[in-house]
């Protein structure tokens, strides 16, 4: 019993992919690494060597430190793994990803794994000094060496270590949906959220579930998410997918008025094909999804975001606690959500 659907619960009506995971999108791999404190999580949206893909972004209030922002916003394309890391370690993690880029090319070109996209998840409750010291090149190498498309560990792992939401342990969660236009996979670093706002498929579980204590107000309530789809989307469409998927984080109660910040990057694995020559010299092939098919993708992204957060809570409920935050009382949670 470690995911929402194992409890007989689900979110929305859309079908999930085979693993109900972000790696249901073909070619996507995920890896985690642990430091002495905290950790990092890496999403690699291409199957082998770096290749350019379209990407979009949405952030709450501008988000926390996000590298590769200039290129992401101006070109709408990246060619690098996407890393989630604590804010003080962004530079060290960035440097680790240059090793990865250099291992493919010394050129550090825009289609060769540069610039690294590192999203700061500024919610890990450890001193900046410790987080900075704990994470760097070695953890990047470890995360990259373990990336796999066979399964995604959830809860207190990678950047998810020490993250908490709704007063209980949270961390990494993921989920997927399949619609006509394609598969949407979501990975969330779940953090923040008031217990009373916890909601499952519209049921206000947090209002009825006893024993959840709010996180102390000193705790930063920052989140991050990566959304991947094999639907062919252009950068502007991916901005919209990121923004609409965010609604799922609001619905589940993770994001509210007290949330400090958060960033979502959305990626299409098929929107841009650098390898295919376009019709005219000097062109590439770009693919987009017609407007009429976008709403289904938006629903898929939001539903998967909601379920990913709940998966994080359930996965973490019996995992090791690093700082005394309790786990979700899963039986009471299920009973409340199904009553």
């Amino acid at each position: 019993m470690r995911r929402l659907r194992d409890l007989g619960l689900s979110v929305g009506e859309l079908p999930t992919g085979p693993l109900n995971a972000i790696i249901d999108v073909e070619g996507v791999r995920v890896g985690h690494a642990r430091g002495a404190v905290g950790g990092i999580t890496v999403v690699v949206p291409f199957p082998d060597i770096p290749r350019r893909y379209y990407a979009g972004r949405w952030s709450l209030d501008g988000g926390d430190d996000t590298t590769a922002l200039a290129m992401l916003e101006d070109f709408g394309a990246l060619s690098t793994p996407i890393a989630l890391a604590p804010a003080p370690a962004v530079g060290r993690v960035y440097d680790g990803f240059l090793d990865y880029g250099f291992s493919h090319s010394a050129g550090l070109g825009e289609d060769e794994g540069w610039p690294p996209a590192v999203i700061a998840v500024d919610g890990v409750p450890a001193p900046a000094v410790s987080l900075h010291a704990a994470l760097g090149t070695a953890q990047v190498a470890a995360a990259l060496s373990t990336v796999t498309d066979s399964g995604v560990a959830e809860g207190q792992i990678g950047i998810g270590q020490s993250l908490a939401a709704f007063g209980v342990r949270a961390g990494i969660g993921n989920s997927s949906r399949v619609v006509d236009a394609g598969t949407v996979g979501v990975l969330v670093a779940a953090n923040g959220g008031e217990p009373r706002r916890l909601s499952v498929n519209g049921i206000p579980v947090g209002r009825w579930l006893a024993g959840l204590t709010p996180l102390p107000p000193t705790r930063r309530r920052a989140f991050a998410a990566v959304i991947v789809t094999d639907a062919p989307l252009l950068p502007g469409q991916l901005d919209r997918l990121a923004q609409r998927s965010f609604f799922g984080l609001v619905r589940v109660g993770l994001v509210d008025e007290l949330t400090t910040s958060g960033t979502i990057i959305a990626v299409s694995t098929t929107g841009l094909d650098d390898g295919l020559e376009g019709l005219a010299p000097g062109t590439v092939t770009a693919r987009m999804t017609p407007e009429a098919s976008l709403p289904a993708l938006f629903v898929a992204g939001a539903d998967a975001c909601e379920e990913a957060v709940l998966n994080a809570l359930i996965a973490a409920h019996n995992q090791r606690s690093t700082d005394g935050v309790p786990g979700l009382p899963v039986d009471a949670f299920r009973d409340t959500a199904t009553r």
Partner: protein, 420 residues
């Protein structure tokens, strides 16, 4: 530093009234201590050693109308400090991890206090996105810059960010227990033609040295700090700076705002190059970069622009200053190519933000921005050109060489085109 006071009546509506501008200029040129400004027609004939470098104004070339601050540098904005660590090591074939090394880091601190303790309002602009500025998320979210600005080469961004974090944590770890983050803004340009990029030679020691040595006053230019290995218009370039004094109001007593610019210039094709309206790049067609033993490497094409002002501007107003810097780029002939990381950041020391922020702020009336716009355009153009006139010929990895802009030929061209 005292602000020189313009004697004439000033307002935005007078911007195009020549008489007023000249009166302001005339007074400020004497009052504002411009040690480097020379009367037109006198410096062009001055003999100059072959390797001697200069600032643009030493050559009698004056950009625009507004007077400069005392140092004609970003440090003319009170509190702003600049420090460089310059790494020049080795000659010959590239050995990754060893060199030759032609890079460094330039640190800009907005105030005399640690930036996380006394942050500034800030905004940024991506002119062309093929580059990196870390730390933009917090700048955009809060409109506040709370870390140092660090300029370096492309490979060193992660290590320089790390160095900035280490420096902050080592000095003031207690400051980061709550909401505050070090969030250094690290910008880069591509020095690979001369430098061992993959070796990533700028680390925490170099960053700490640049930050610790950051000082007010004159700013070293050319092949220094983050600009060490850079080039512009296929001449050697690097760091350049300039400043302008801008009338603060209609009355003399209103004084002048200061706006200072520092650039790390690594952009432009020769034939595009324009100096003060003269198509220098079409006249000086030799002295192109020379390849040694290396195979082709892609050109460096980036411009980082840092704008400082003591005018009390809000982030949205600072964004307007960033946009004006693009006009200066255009005046030098740049087109902001696809491969370019042309990124600007502007900050204002004119108000307190963060914990010390007042409930109500005195901010510039939006309709009074035009003089600042003029100041930014002039100072950015001059800073770019200073990065060229100050930089010397440099040989780097694999014997690759980038030549300095020949100053005697530059001044001859200015005469020939009647600009001096």
């Amino acid at each position: 530093m005292t602000r020189p006071r313009p004697q004439s009546e000033y307002s935005d509506r007078l911007l195009d009234r020549d008489l007023s501008r000249r009166r302001f200029l005339g007074l400020s040129l004497t009052a504002a201590a411009l040690p480097l400004a020379c009367a037109p027609g006198t410096t062009g004939s001055r003999s100059r050693g072959a390797g001697e470098r200069a600032r643009l104004r030493d050559l009698g070339i004056v950009i625009g109308d507004l007077p400069t601050g005392p140092y004609n540098a970003i440090t003319d904005v009170a509190g702003v400090r600049v420090g460089h660590t310059t790494l020049i090591r080795g000659y010959g074939p590239l050995v990754i991890g060893q060199g030759p090394v032609r890079t460094g880091v330039t640190a800009i601190l907005p105030r005399s206090d640690p930036p996380w303790r006394r942050p500034v309002f800030a905004a940024d602009l991506t002119i062309n996105g093929n580059g990196e500025f870390t730390g933009l998320g917090p700048v955009r979210r809060t409109g506040v810059l709370g870390g140092p600005i660090l300029l370096t080469d492309t490979g060193s961004v992660g290590r320089v960010h790390d160095g900035g974090v280490q420096w902050a944590l080592a000095r003031d770890a207690d400051a980061f227990d709550g909401e505050v983050r070090p969030d250094p803004v690290v910008g880069e340009t591509w020095a690979d033609f001369l430098n061992d990029t993959v070796g990533r030679h700028v680390g925490s020691v170099e960053v700490a040295r640049a930050l610790t040595s950051a000082a007010a006053g004159p700013v070293a230019e050319g092949c220094v700090g983050g600009g060490t290995g850079m080039r512009a218009f296929q001449f050697k370039a690097g760091i350049g700076t300039a400043s302008r004094l801008v009338p603060a109001g209609p009355d003399d007593a209103d004084g002048a705002w200061r706006v200072g610019v520092l650039v790390q210039a690594n952009f432009g094709s020769r034939h595009h190059m324009i100096v003060n309206g003269v198509p220098v790049g079409r006249e000086i067609v030799d002295l192109l970069p020379e390849r040694g033993t290396a195979t082709a490497v892609p050109p460096g094409n980036s411009l980082l622009i840092v704008i400082a002002t003591d005018a009390p501007l809000l982030p949205i107003q600072l964004q307007r200053l960033c946009r004006r810097a693009t006009l200066a780029m255009g005046r030098t002939g740049a087109v902001s190519t696809h491969g370019s990381g042309d990124l600007a950041i502007a900050f204002s020391t004119g108000n307190e933000t963060g914990p010390a922020a007042a409930e109500s702020l005195q901010v510039m009336h939006t309709s009074r921005m035009s003089w600042l716009h003029t100041g930014v355009v002039e100072a950015t153009e001059e800073a770019i050109l200073n990065s060229l006139t100050a930089a010397s010929t440099m040989e780097g990895r694999d014997g690759n060489t980038i030549h300095a802009l020949p100053l005697d030929r530059l001044t001859d061209l200015m005469h020939r085109f009647g600009r001096q």
